[in-house]
């Protein structure tokens, strides 16, 4: 690799104080309110339009001891949910003024319920979310968002105007556009940023005001383009599956010679990849509902083909040679869709390595051995072709 980028270091500094990152601290110092959100189906735009700082609640960048959280949620509930709860039990999320959950999956829903019962941060809502991606689901979700908006207004004692909402939509759309440009760079033979670095950037950008994140991202883009950096990897990989925050996991893959050029993660591409349509929508809530109900789906949505059809074009766009699918223990939707995904990819000649890991786990031990073997196989395959 080559020189370090200054803006990249700034993103790293944000991550260093996780979860009470410096920008969040600064926001609180100014008297601002902070609301945590649990899943990428929460429309952050609405929180932003209400004048609060939305911060993504995660389990951090490493593997935690989860004894206490497990006592509340059960040993086979997903390790992401338990990690979030563990941090809350350890009072790491005390700076939150409220929490918003989504009924995405059992892990997310039960985490919100247990949080409400045992953690003092108030739970604002568990947003209902249809499983299908059709017109009726959009209408249903729009109604839910209207209800949520009222609740938020009541909680914060503010009015969320349409104009504020459209302003937030524009800001978040800008974030999506800059992120798209960042990912565009990864299509190069030798991208200026590694997969590890991109995850670091994505992690930080949900722990600061979007205005600030956008400005930093734009600077990073300019710097990256001008830097002449070229991250070399022997094989081009896609990382797919359950939520991932630990850059060390990606670093382990890249240390072994692979380069992660694209992902299918809710902390990566699935977070930014669909715009809120602004044309033809008189009502910003309808526009938001449409975006969230039609965006690149996670495995909890049905049917599976919706996810597959969004994932497949990425393989050719980013010239992916192999896919590493990673289901965290015990994330049922990803585990239970894994067979179908693997079969469909392999039927199309795309090799797949499926890993099941604890949330937060770095890529060590057996994972490292399997990734190494996978990369060797891909290299052999390339030679043979």
């Amino acid at each position: 690799m080559s020189s370090t980028l200054d803006t990249l270091n700034e993103f790293r500094e944000v991550n260093a104080a996780f979860p009470y990152a410096e920008p969040v601290r600064e926001w609180k110092k100014q008297g601002g309110k902070v609301i945590g959100w649990l899943c990428s189906y929460v429309p952050e735009e609405m929180l932003h339009a209400a004048g609060v700082l939305p911060v993504r609640v995660t389990g951090g960048y490493g593997e935690l001891a989860l004894e206490e959280a497990t006592a509340y949620l059960g040993v086979m509930l997903c390790s992401f949910a338990r990690s979030c709860l563990q941090l809350a039990i350890d009072q790491k999320y005390e700076f939150l003024d409220a929490l918003v959950g989504v009924a995405t999956c059992e892990g997310s829903r039960h985490l919100a319920e247990v949080w409400e019962h045992y953690i003092k941060t108030p739970l604002l809502d568990i947003l209902p979310l249809p499983h299908k991606m059709h017109q009726r689901a959009e209408e249903f979700f729009a109604e839910e968002l209207r209800r949520f908006k009222l609740r938020l207004e009541e909680f914060l004692q503010v009015e969320i105007t349409d104009s504020a909402l459209w302003g937030s939509v524009a800001l978040y759309n800008k974030h999506r556009e800059i992120s798209r440009q960042l990912y565009e760079l990864r299509k190069a033979d030798y991208p200026p940023l590694s997969g590890t670095e991109v995850l670091e950037v994505m992690n930080a950008s949900v722990m600061m005001p979007k205005e600030q994140a956008n400005a930093m991202l734009e600077r990073l883009l300019t710097e990256a383009k001008a830097s002449g950096r070229a991250v070399k990897g022997s094989v081009r990989l896609m990382l797919s599956g359950s939520i991932l925050n630990n850059p060390q996991f990606v670093a382990a893959i890249e240390d072994l010679g692979g380069i992660v050029v694209v992902d299918e993660l809710c902390t990566g591409l699935r977070y930014w990849c669909d715009m809120v349509e602004t044309d033809g929508h008189p009502d910003p809530v309808v526009a938001l509902a449409r975006r969230y109900m039609t965006k690149f789906p996670c495995a909890r949505m049905n049917p599976f083909s919706e996810r597959l059809n969004r994932l497949l074009p990425l393989i050719s766009e980013y010239r992916v040679e192999g896919v590493i699918t990673r289901a965290i223990r015990y994330c049922k939707p990803y585990i239970q869709e894994q067979h179908m995904l693997k079969t469909e990819l392999e039927n199309r000649g795309v090799p797949v390595l499926d890993l099941d890991v604890e949330y937060g786990m770095p890529g060590t031990g057996q994972v490292r051995t399997r990734v190494q073997a996978f990369i060797e196989m891909l290299l052999e395959r390339r030679k043979a072709s």
């Binding site: 409400e116 979310l129 909890r300 049905n302 599976f304 049922k332 239970q336």
Partner: protein
């Protein structure tokens, strides 16, 4: 992956076992309801067997989905749970092979064994290959994913009934009613059969009667001693699924209602005495959540006979009043579907008025329960997510609870001895509280 089309060895074995239990019960009756249960359970399987022989279109459906629809369309269907994992209880010996098959598609201990077995059954051909699969998301993520996986493996079309969380409010009922309308249209296309709307209206009326009967039964069960055989708290629940909105459903529940009523009036306990022995006494009244696993029926008999612990009710028997109007069949079926106690309790925030914690705490009061038995299947996210809250809430009201680490379908997960030991510890706790006054 190529799957066998149909291997009836397991179904035939289950039918034979059920038939022999039925014959045995006829000679040594424990009640009309139990007889009917075996009779109709057998019939559910036999009808599939016969439909297959005739080459008819067969539907495979998650049992908790509204059975009224295939009944009204005259579509042969099988409940994947009662016919799959349910068969373990009648000794069909499917567990090892089906769990092994499920492992091949990546389903391990994190997935509840009941659902792994259903996938394994499909892979082994022990379910006849269906023409289509119908499923939905209540009550858990695994429900939402395993049935589409089965359809994928069998290479048949599937329909997913989308139920937004939480169950039960009017807007969700309306949403689900439209899902059902789409399901009907879809089924007409894939099966070639037409909906008989008059018959659908009849199922609504029969469903209404079933809800009423369930509500009468739950009132009668407040009697002392408990007038119900412990395992019937589970069996009646299964029956409400697969015979929803049918004459058989009404017949069975009427028999059960009459039986528990007659015992309650006499002051007799639900569990009959062993021949030549004194009637069993009730010392402690316990609520089960979720229902007692079907494979543990005999253990519960032992618990009552040995220690006087009766299972007074399972919270999944506790039906609310459900407004049913035959002239609005889809809305009524959707309303009943979302008010099914399992879905209503598990698919609402656990401490909301409909939620499982609220329902259990209330039931403990209503049934004057001495304790609550929680069957804590570790791979069931739906249960494990609320166990701590439930235990804390019950403790606040002075009701002790116990969690049995068990697997609802795999008898090898917890040994009988280990389970009995845990039950005895719970009895010790109940006794110590009794002495303390």
């Amino acid at each position: 992956m190529r799957l066998p089309v149909a291997d009836f060895s397991k179904m035939d074995a289950s039918i034979r076992t059920l038939a022999s239990i039925y014959e045995h019960r006829k000679v040594s009756p424990r009640g009309q309801a139990e007889l009917l249960w075996y009779q109709y359970y057998t019939q559910h399987m036999q009808k599939i067997r016969e439909a297959w022989e005739r080459g008819e279109f067969i539907l495979s459906m998650f049992d908790a989905c509204p059975a009224e629809i295939p009944y009204a369309m005259d579509l042969p269907w099988y409940g994947t749970v009662v016919y799959g994992p349910g068969a373990v209880a009648v000794g069909a010996k499917i567990e090892e092979a089906t769990l092994d098959s499920a492992r091949q598609v990546g389903l391990m201990l994190e997935t509840c064994s009941g659902w792994r077995m259903t996938v394994g059954m499909m892979m082994r051909g022990w379910y006849p290959r269906p023409g289509a699969v119908v499923s939905g998301n209540p009550t858990c993520d695994t429900c939402a994913k395993c049935w589409p996986l089965m359809a994928y493996l069998a290479n048949v079309p599937s329909f997913f009934i989308d139920v937004p969380f939480p169950a039960g409010n009017e807007r969700n009922i309306s949403y689900v009613a439209t899902e059902l309308a789409e399901l009907i249209e879809w089924l007409e296309n894939v099966s070639g059969k037409k909906m008989d709307w008059d018959r659908l209206r009849e199922t609504v009326e029969l469903g209404r009667q079933m809800v009423e009967l369930n509500r009468e039964i739950q009132e009668i069960l407040k009697a002392r001693p408990s007038p119900i055989v412990p395992r019937m708290t589970t069996q009646s629940y299964w029956f409400n699924w697969i015979y929803s909105g049918t004459p058989e459903g009404v017949h069975f529940l009427t028999a059960l209602r009459d039986e528990v009523k007659e015992k309650a009036v006499r002051g007799a306990s639900g569990l009959p005495p062993v021949k030549g022995e004194a009637p069993v006494k009730e010392r402690f009244r316990v609520i089960s959540i979720p229902p007692v696993p079907q494979i543990r029926g005999k253990t519960l008999d032992w618990l009552w006979r040995e220690y006087g612990v009766s299972i007074v009710v399972s919270t999944f028997m506790l039906w609310p009043d459900v407004e049913m109007d035959p002239d609005k069949p889809l809305e009524s079926i959707a309303r009943k579907y979302l008010n099914n106690p399992l879905i209503r309790q598990y698919f609402n925030p656990c401490e909301s008025p409909y939620g499982t914690v609220t329902a259990t705490v209330q039931a403990a009061r209503d049934y004057e329960a001495n304790g609550v038995m929680i069957w804590g299947n570790p791979s069931c996210d739906a249960t494990s997510g609320f166990v701590k809250i439930m235990r804390d809430r019950l403790a606040e009201t002075g009701v002790p609870s116990v969690v049995f680490d068990h697997d609802p379908a795999d008898p090898t997960y917890t040994s009988e001895d280990a389970l009995k030991e845990r039950m005895e510890e719970f009895v010790d706790l109940l006794e110590s509280r009794e002495w303390e006054g």
